[in-house]
């Protein structure tokens, strides 16, 4: 019997990997005081782009949202777009029209032809929005969290609906890094756990023993104390929050010979090296994930 005990313990341990994750586990509610409707001005001029500090000029002023788009904001957009017929709901997904990309048949390239494409999957339990058949709303407690489970098409459509656009990769990077130095993180040289939502950041929304990392409300890392959890104020030099961690953010560039769309910023499930301002992630434009969101830009170009 004594010999069996270690085996039984191993079996129990392995079976624990099969336990379901409660995606609707209670979520603490905090008001960060950062207005998700606010925008920051990024002035024209040079900055150091990429890991190797390439001098890069963006010769125009533009604005970027201070935080990623929230679930509340996206729900409001969906309700407005549903009312005016600019989105479609069928087969448990919200979709909309995209005019397509030039297809060059490069290696691994997939054609993105004109047609309707996924914005958000309604049947995915990780979606933080509810739909009662006529109205969209954020699930309780998730209103001021970044909108996730949204495709590149869905992100682009949101920004353009309100007269904006997705930022280019360079615009995003300048907004994150500023133009004064070559800092790797929006706030400076080093990262600590209470500066950004990353894996094992031990924020009040995380439980690595059960559901793992979850998004934090936009602008959460602003120096406030939330139920004893002290954050450090971590805006970028232009005052943008969540430019490192929480959610990857779609950018707008469409490149030749590939269908991938690029994301910046690093997400809640990544280690610190993925949160450096130059690190790129990418996916097909229909990809949706619980750590993928976006923010918009306007002006310039």
């Amino acid at each position: 019997m004594k010999k069996l005990i270690p085996l039984l313990l191993c079996a129990v341990f392995l079976l624990s990997a099969c336990q379901p994750v409660d995606l609707d586990a209670p979520v603490p509610v905090y008001d960060t005081g950062i207005d998700p409707e606010s925008w920051a001005l990024i002035p024209a001029g040079e900055f150091l782009s990429g890991q190797f500090d390439k001098e890069t000029d963006i010769p125009y002023d533009y604005e970027m949202m201070v935080t990623p788009v929230t679930n509340d904001q996206y729900a409001a957009y969906l309700n407005a777009a549903l009312a005016d017929g600019s989105i479609k709901i069928s087969e448990n997904q919200v979709s909309g029209y995209y005019p397509g990309d030039v297809f060059r048949g490069a290696r691994h390239e997939e054609e993105i032809a004109a047609g309707d494409y996924l914005y958000i999957p309604l049947d995915d339990p990780a979606l933080r929005l509810a739909f009662d058949g006529s109205t969209f709303s954020a699930k309780p407690g998730w209103g001021n969290h970044p909108m996730t489970m949204v495709s590149w098409f869905g992100a682009k459509a949101y920004c353009e609906y309100y007269g904006g656009r997705l930022p280019s990769e360079l615009e995003w990077e300048k907004a994150a890094r500023g133009s004064a130095d070559n800092r790797p993180f929006p706030w400076g040289e080093t990262i600590t756990r209470n500066r950004a939502n990353l894996i094992f950041s031990r924020d009040p929304f995380e439980n690595m023993a059960t559901f793992g990392s979850r998004t934090t409300p936009v602008g959460f890392y602003n120096g406030q104390v939330y139920d004893g959890y002290q954050t450090l104020d971590s805006p970028s030099p232009y005052g943008l929050y969540d430019m490192a961690g929480n959610v990857w953010q779609w950018t707008g560039d469409v490149y030749e010979n590939q269908h991938y769309r690029y994301m910046r910023g690093g997400g809640m499930n990544n280690y610190e090296n993925a949160l450096r301002v130059w690190v790129r992630n990418n996916a097909t434009p229909v990809f949706t994930g619980p750590a993928t969101g976006f923010r918009c830009a306007r002006g310039g170009k």
Partner: protein
């Protein structure tokens, strides 16, 4: 003084001593710098190590640091394999001394120049030492190729059970020679584009550029370089184990030509990645299939031999299935060396082939950050499984016997396979669970991986401590090993 000189003589002038020093150093490097990895950061260990050792982790230099760390570890392993080769194959004593001394100084320069440069600030003299070390290792490789030249009459086989040409030239030696030549060219394949295009200042990791539609010559050369160098280290390991197992007979005659052609075709495939990327993959698949088939014949031969000798020891002429399995597994070191080659097919080759075949259909539908762990896991597992095989050979000729041999061998097999099995599931987790509900699987595979790797390191540490204690004994094992060579079989004696 004599006390010190005698031990220095063993550690730096005998093959077994040189291998012991190299294993001890690479163990320390792996243990120390492994504590800076992601899982160790989760436990807070990374922060403690960084503070305690005053390590400077500049974020923009992470990729460069890792490139130097990987090269440092790889150079020690290359040195260990070279020591084994120079002792297992006949060559002139002067050649052996020249090769071993050059490569020893080379890898020590790499370790003590490269790692301080990468982790403790940029003193360019240290970088120069690192580059000088790499150059010395390359030069030692040139000497090895010269020493291995197989078309000398004195190196012809005397026992026709070994693979040979019509003229009696030893095909196993040709396989070692082909592997060494291919390794030298493949080293240049990484070094020249790296120096010319990158100039060392814009370091990147190959896994970071896999989805780039327009890969530069540097990108392609670096991707090809790391793949072929690891593959050739694995080929060298298989050839060394062939000697250990005294591989011969019909399977040897089939395997050695496959190893020779496989090494050459595989290498040419990776070199052709630069001008003909699409076609090169087909050539690589062809070459690796041939080399893997050669390794399969080695596995079949060694398992048959272990079963036959095991049954004979018990006086059984023809045993049943269970008796055969008991005979096969009675020596975990000899069984483990080839078992790890089989296990490699599940965790490295199988995963690699599946990923290549289903790349566009499955893996390129994921976000890049989900594909990336497959790429890094793939070669970490290949490298570490190869290291466990070499460790089993070392434990055998270090004289590990009885219960210690059983414990060491089985713990190494079980816990390394546990770790790499868990890592394989972790890296492929998106096939099983979506990101939102991955945490229980991530927790389980991470803990199993940590337990496995920690146990392997503890077992390795125990082996090293055993040898360290032995060094303090006046008539320790080391006094006998100082003049011992690795076993050389009759047919390859000069």
């Amino acid at each position: 003084m004599h006390w010190f000189a005698a031990r220095f003589n063993f550690l730096f002038r005998s093959t077994k001593g040189l291998i012991l020093v190299a294993i001890a150093l690479v163990s320390l490097v792996s243990a120390l710098f492994g504590m800076l990895s992601g899982p160790m950061a989760d436990f807070g260990i990374k922060d403690v190590i960084v503070r305690a050792l005053n390590i400077k982790l500049v974020e923009a230099e992470r990729e460069g640091r890792l490139v130097i760390l990987y090269h440092s570890i790889a150079m020690v392993v290359v040195a260990i394999e070279t020591y084994m080769i120079t002792d297992l194959l006949p060559m002139k004593d002067g050649q052996r001394v020249a090769i071993n001394s050059t490569i020893t100084i080379g890898y020590l320069a790499v370790l003590f120049g490269g790692l301080p440069f990468a982790y403790w600030g940029h003193n360019w003299a240290l970088h120069g030492l690192y580059i000088a070390g790499l150059s010395l290792i390359f030069f030692a490789g040139c000497l090895l190729v010269w020493a291995l030249w197989p078309w000398r009459p004195e190196y012809r086989v005397s026992d026709k059970a070994y693979a040979h040409t019509r003229g009696g030239y030893n095909l196993e030696r040709v396989a070692f020679f082909a592997m060494a030549v291919a390794t030298l060219i493949s080293a240049l394949f990484g070094a020249i584009p790296g120096s010319y295009f990158g100039n060392g200042f814009e370091a990147f990791l190959a896994e970071n550029v896999v989805r780039e539609p327009h890969k530069s010559v540097l990108d392609l050369a670096v991707i090809g370089h790391l793949h072929i160098m690891l593959a050739l280290i694995a080929v060298a390991c298989a050839l060394i184990i062939s000697r250990w197992m005294d591989f011969k007979g019909t399977l040897h005659k089939l395997a050695m030509p496959l190893m020779i052609v496989g090494s050459i075709v595989l290498s040419m495939g990776t070199w052709l990645v630069v001008p003909f990327e699409a076609a090169a993959h087909a050539i690589i698949y062809g070459g690796s299939t041939l080399a893997m088939l050669g390794a399969l014949f080695l596995v079949i031969f060694s398992w048959r031999k272990l079963i036959r000798t095991g049954l004979a020891e018990k006086g059984i002429r023809k045993g049943n299935f269970f008796q055969a399995v008991a005979a096969l597994t009675r020596d975990p070191l000899k069984f483990g060396a080839t078992w790890q080659m089989v296990f490699m097919n599940f965790t490295v080759s199988g995963v690699g082939i599946f990923t290549a075949v289903k790349l566009d259909e499955i893996f390129r539908k994921w976000q890049y950050m989900d594909e990336r762990p497959i790429l890094t896991g793939h070669w970490h597992i290949l490298a570490t499984l190869t290291a466990t095989i070499l460790l089993m050979y070392y434990a055998d000729f270090a004289g590990l016997k009885g219960k210690a041999r059983q414990w060491f061998g089985w713990l190494l097999i079980i816990f390394s396979d546990l770790a790499f099995g868990a890592v394989t599931i972790y890296e492929m987790r998106r096939l099983i669970v979506p990101e939102a509900v991955q945490q229980p699987l991530v927790n389980t595979t991470t803990i199993l991986g940590d337990i496995g790797l920690a146990t392997v390191l503890v077992v390795l540490a125990a082996l090293m401590v055993w040898r360290l204690i032995d060094l303090f004994k006046k008539k320790g094992r080391w006094t006998k090993e100082v003049d011992q060579k690795l076993e050389i079989f009759e047919e390859v004696k000069q």
